[in-house]
């Protein structure tokens, strides 16, 4: 029996845009193995963002089943979803999304704070920052760091809780190609070392090439899995 970390079955998501009903996902099914590196691709309007929000437990599907790391999350309430996000998912965003008031360490500690952890929080955050190569930048604030360093802080933040999956939304989109490559190899290395499942949402074929599987979406339906 395969160890699936993501099991998505017949995911449907519909929005009301004014008076019109928009179907962003029209019954998408796929599974992702633990430790796998998968990219999700598709042109804009293909349901790519909706898929990422659903997989990231930021939103519930209208219908269908989604089992994340053994937990069925489709029917959970807001606070339960918050808890699942906190324990099982790490987010890496295109625009880093660091809090400018906090130091790098403070930003990385944030998920641990919401997990209710008080002792050992600092040490764990320091270890995560060391793992992304920012040992000597811990007390810097985001505006004192370069774009690549900021994204490293964000990656440290995403893995500090030892999540089941890391959701990366265009992680290199705001970086130049050289720094982008560094960030990609960091993500892939962390996957190799820690075995954390990595899901990258991107439209960049060069990035998709580096992943083991590519899930392509078109008009809210599964186009292909390669």
């Amino acid at each position: 029996m395969t160890d699936w970390v993501v099991q998505a079955k017949d995911l449907v998501k519909t929005y009301m845009m004014g008076e019109f009903e928009v179907q962003a996902l029209r019954g998408v099914s796929f599974n992702i193995k633990r430790g796998e590196v998968v990219s999700i691709m598709g042109p804009s309007g293909s349901g790519k963002s909706t898929m990422m929000n659903t997989l990231g437990c930021l939103d519930r599907p209208t219908s269908g089943e989604y089992i994340l790391d053994g937990e069925s999350v489709a029917e959970m309430n807001d606070d339960q979803l918050a808890s699942v996000r906190n324990r099982k998912i790490g987010f890496v965003f295109q625009s880093f999304n660091l809090l400018s008031r906090l130091t790098a360490l403070g930003n990385v500690e944030l998920p641990l704070r919401y997990a209710g952890m008080s002792e050992g929080r600092r040490a764990k955050a320091q270890a995560a920052l060391e793992a992304v190569g920012l040992k000597d930048r811990m007390t810097h604030r985001p505006y004192e760091l370069s774009g690549g360093q900021q994204q490293r802080v964000a990656i440290a933040r995403s893995l500090v809780n030892d999540p089941a999956i890391i959701m990366a939304d265009e992680p290199t989109g705001n970086l130049d190609s050289k720094v982008g490559k560094e960030i990609m190899s960091l993500l892939l290395n962390l996957n190799k070392e820690r075995g954390t499942t990595l899901i990258i949402v991107t439209h960049d074929p060069n990035i998709a090439e580096q992943t083991q599987r590519v899930i392509r979406l078109r008009d809210g339906e599964l186009d292909s899995i390669t």
Binding site: D78, R85, F91, F93, R101, L102, L110, Y114, R157
Partner: protein, 420 residues
């Protein structure tokens, strides 16, 4: 997330926008300071008036002619009947009250005739209250002599033309309040020898009691203050044996006068006022004044609270992305709620603390100004005012924080993250 962490984060966040936080706090500072200062002024006024009433003598009673009912004016209940049958108070009434067997709770009785008179001294003239008094009046009213002596029984028996002046009346006539004993002034054209000057009592609850003059009761009766009936008196001042005996004294005096005047049951033709009655009246007046001042100040506190709500709403909108991120990282609704409520409460709490100090300062300055201008008035910053305004400002922080905070807590993470 623990409360201590929320507090720390709130401090960091408020510190990050010093100007805005400062201005928001200022609204609360002004509100709380206004409440504290206004209540202090109100309480001070109350204490000052209460004090001056108490200085008249705590066991003093006033007996007037006329019933409370008939004072309601024509057409009032009972006015037709009792109004026609009012018998004036007389000297014999006063003597009856002074009888220690009939009224054991009564210490001393001082009947008076009261009016106003024109006093003149070598071209200077002034109008002052003129009281026809007996020797008992001196101790019943707690008077003190600055110089000379008060009216004694010889003056009464001889219907002598002597006068005791209040300090203000003395200054109006002589330009000074000492060394005037032995001078002769004219009261309504008749010569009177000055035998004493009283110690100043300050502005009392009934206007200045220092602009006054006192002549022997018998002299007033026969020469200056003529009343319709013989032996009639205007006010009988009664001193009870103690403050506790005042209600008992009221009972005794009432039954004596009822008997003597043969008043029908329930239709007294006289009124007895006690110190407690005056205190109650003035306390209710100053109480209304205090509530009024506090209410106006409270409005400014309310405005400060609306300022907090306004700023918190702006802050929530500004930090939509931050809220979305925090939710993505696992913040629950109550975490976000706590975060924003802590910020708004902190704003109002800081404002409250500064406001208390500021209000205290204002009250102190008002007190200093009052002392400098010679008024006996000390604003009182009560613990009740401090507790009231602190809790009020904390409640305002919470109340006006709830709406913005719940708006933040209920943001959809997807929407919030997408917000530019």
């Amino acid at each position: 997330m623990t409360f201590a962490q929320a507090l720390l984060e709130a401090l960091e966040s408020l510190n990050g926008n010093k100007m805005r936080s400062g201005l928001t706090v200022l609204g609360i500072v002004i509100g709380v300071a206004a409440v504290i200062a206004m209540l202090a002024v109100g309480n001070g006024a109350q204490a000052s008036i209460t004090g001056s009433i108490s200085s008249i003598g705590t066991n003093l009673l006033f007996v007037f002619s006329g019933s409370p009912e008939s004072q309601q004016g024509p057409g009032g209940p009972g006015s037709g009947r009792s109004g026609n049958n009012i018998k004036p108070l007389t000297l014999s009434d006063a003597n009856a009250i002074a009888d220690p067997f009939a009224a054991p709770s009564v210490e001393q009785v001082a009947p008076t005739l009261e009016g106003n008179a024109l006093l003149t001294f070598s071209g200077e003239n002034t109008t002052a209250t003129l009281t026809g008094a007996t020797p008992e009046y001196f101790s019943v009213r707690n008077l003190q002599m600055a110089e000379g002596e008060f009216i004694n029984s010889e003056h009464i028996l001889g219907r002598m033309s002597v006068v005791v002046l209040g300090p203000e009346a003395a200054i109006s006539l002589f330009g000074r309040a000492d060394g005037v004993v032995g001078e002769t002034i004219r009261i309504e054209g008749q010569p009177f020898r000055v035998i004493g000057v009283l110690v100043a009592r300050g502005g009392g609850a009934f206007g200045s009691e220092d602009n006054s003059s006192y002549i022997p009761f018998t002299t007033a009766q026969s020469r200056l203050i003529r009343r319709g009936a013989r032996d009639q008196v205007d006010v009988i001042y009664v001193q009870a044996v103690s403050a506790e005996a005042v209600p008992q004294a009221v009972e005794e005096i009432s039954s004596i006068i009822r008997q003597r005047h043969r008043t029908p049951v329930g239709f007294d033709d006289f009124t007895i006022f006690t110190q407690a009655d005056f205190l109650t009246i003035f306390e209710s007046i100053t109480g209304v004044l205090t509530i009024f001042l506090g209410g106006i100040a409270g409005i400014s506190l309310l405005v400060g609270g609306i300022g907090i709500m306004n700023i918190m709403l702006v802050s929530v909108t500004e930090r939509t992305r931050e809220i979305g991120l925090r939710k993505a990282l696992g913040a629950r609704k109550k975490d976000i709620l706590l975060q924003f409520l802590t910020e708004s409460s902190l704003l109002s709490l800081i404002g409250g603390i500064i406001g208390i100090m500021f209000g205290w300062l204002i009250a102190y300055i008002v007190g200093q100004v009052a002392i400098a201008s010679g008024t006996n008035f000390v604003p009182i910053v009560g613990t009740d005012a401090i507790i009231l305004s602190t809790s009020f400002s904390a409640i305002i922080g919470l109340f006006f924080g709830i709406y913005p905070a719940s708006r933040a807590a209920n943001l959809e993470p997807v929407e919030a993250l997408r917000y530019e």
